[in-house]
Symmetry: none
Subunit: 120 residues, 2 copies
DNA sequence: GGAAGTTGTGAAAGATTTGTAAAAAGCGGG
DNA sequence: CCCGCTTTTTACAAATCTTTCACAACTTCC
């Protein structure tokens, strides 16, 4: 039985919620369970801030009174697995939480410098 | 369109659900009943993760509260019978279950080294 | 600039899951 | 019953994942 797969998708990154898989630039990346749940929560709210408390509750089942750094560590490992885009994809909102930013083409500064006219 | 005998098939491995038989590289392999049921369940969902719980329920009829290592032992024997491909075919998804991966040609890295150009 | 609080990070410790060999337990036909 | 084969359990070893720790780096606010 084939149902259309639910996934997050942009030019560089695909997350398949059904297969629990991640691809970055066509390359398959293995995620651990916690990494996957964390990324799922973030991409499910792509573009929106997800507060630390919400992540700790949804992914870890922690209450509001638990102090841990495990979220930070997992964020770090996710960023790593997202390769060069890690920093761009997962944004830190200081004092609040994190936000997964859908891919946006970088300004083309280095690619196509503004009018290098032959000349002088 | 007619639906011929139901079987799983790839360049190295054929599983015939009707005959309850397995061939690896043209060689017939005898499977015990449990081995066969396990392999059937896995190949029937080739490419997809099958959670431990599902296997324990489908193949053994166990409920979610039963702790046993018999699944692991059977996986091991299946891998053995699949010969050199055992590890490649049956993938462990840590903390989740197993996945039967259809055959894929290995990357040809060693076969055709990237351009050794004569020169300098 | 300095204090207080927050996040980043590598490494270590802890916890859980899976692999495996070998022994024990089941099972069906003689 | 007894035998041969299959299946399950047992008991560790090994692999993998998760969390903590200690400290560096960074933010914010005064």
């Amino acid at each position: 039985m084939m149902m259309s797969t639910s996934l997050y998708q942009d030019p560089h990154c695909v997350v398949d919620f059904a297969l629990a898989k991640l691809w970055v630039d066509r390359r398959a990346i293995t995620l651990t369970r916690k990494e996957y749940e964390l990324l799922s929560t973030l991409t499910a709210n792509a573009g929106e801030i997800v507060p630390r408390g919400v992540l700790l509750r949804n992914v870890w089942g922690y209450g509001p009174d638990i102090r841990t750094r495990t979220l930070d560590v997992h964020i770090r490992r996710l960023r790593r697995k997202l390769g060069d885009y890690g920093e761009q994809y997962i944004e830190t909102i200081f004092g609040v939480g994190y936000r997964f930013q859908p891919w946006r083409e970088p300004k083309a500064f280095t690619v196509e410098p503004p009018m290098l006219r032959a000349t002088a």
